[in-house]
């Protein structure tokens, strides 16, 4: 088990914590924030997979995921403002 595998396991744990909050979280804003954290964990996992495999094209996936995650969170903010709880 290498250090990269350990890092992937820790990111998976963090993703699971985000999922727990997204299921439990009382308001829509809680779920939006939890989805944000899950996206961060996925981006980190893709970065580690880039190191572990030889597919350097994953770097483009990280760029696009970062940009789209920002847009997705902004549109979720509009949804939260319209109705809550």
């Amino acid at each position: 088990m290498t250090l990269i595998d350990l890092g992937l396991a820790v990111l998976a744990l963090s993703f699971a914590l985000g999922i727990v909050r997204a299921v439990r979280g009382p308001s829509v804003a809680d779920r939006a924030i939890a989805a944000d954290l899950c996206l961060y964990a996925i981006v980190g996992a893709i970065a580690l997979l880039t190191l572990r495999t030889t597919y350097r094209e994953f770097l483009d996936v990280i760029l696009i995921a970062t940009l789209l995650g920002f847009l997705a969170t902004i549109s979720l903010g509009a949804l939260v403002g319209r109705r809550d709880s």
């Binding site: 890092g7 909050r21 308001s27 804003a29 770097l59 970062t66 995650g69 920002f70 902004i74």
Partner: protein, 117 residues
């Protein structure tokens, strides 16, 4: 070789920060404090992981792409956290019962707390 070491340290620190953000998201009492955990800890953590990845790969292409991603991350994470928190405040999400300072009070309309629950 030295770049590999720097990359490993940066990635380890960043992953630790993301784990801290996950724990904070689970344990903190209300939306606004949880938003602080995700926005700051996870945003900085992911930026560190990306910087460490660029160091460990060590090519110019990786450095440019990860540099752009880090800049986007530093612009995007605080703005999106602020948008979510402000929308939650406007929608009347209740504050933690031990919160003492409410800087937006009187500046942003919100429904009464007990009605929103």
């Amino acid at each position: 070789m030295i770049l590999d070491l720097i990359g490993a340290v940066l990635i380890g620190l960043g992953i630790f920060l993301v784990l801290l953000a996950g724990i904070g998201l689970l344990r903190f009492p209300d939306v606004f404090i949880r938003s602080s955990a995700t926005t700051k800890a996870a945003g900085l953590g992911i930026a560190l992981v990306l910087a460490g990845t660029a160091c460990a790969i060590g090519t110019g292409e990786a450095a440019v792409k990860m540099g752009i991603a880090i800049v986007l991350q530093f612009i995007g994470a605080p703005v999106s956290g602020h948008v979510i928190a402000r929308a939650a405040y406007r929608a009347g999400t209740p504050l933690w019962d031990r919160t003492t300072v409410d800087d937006l009070q009187g500046f942003v309309e919100r429904p009464h707390e007990l009605e929103a629950r």
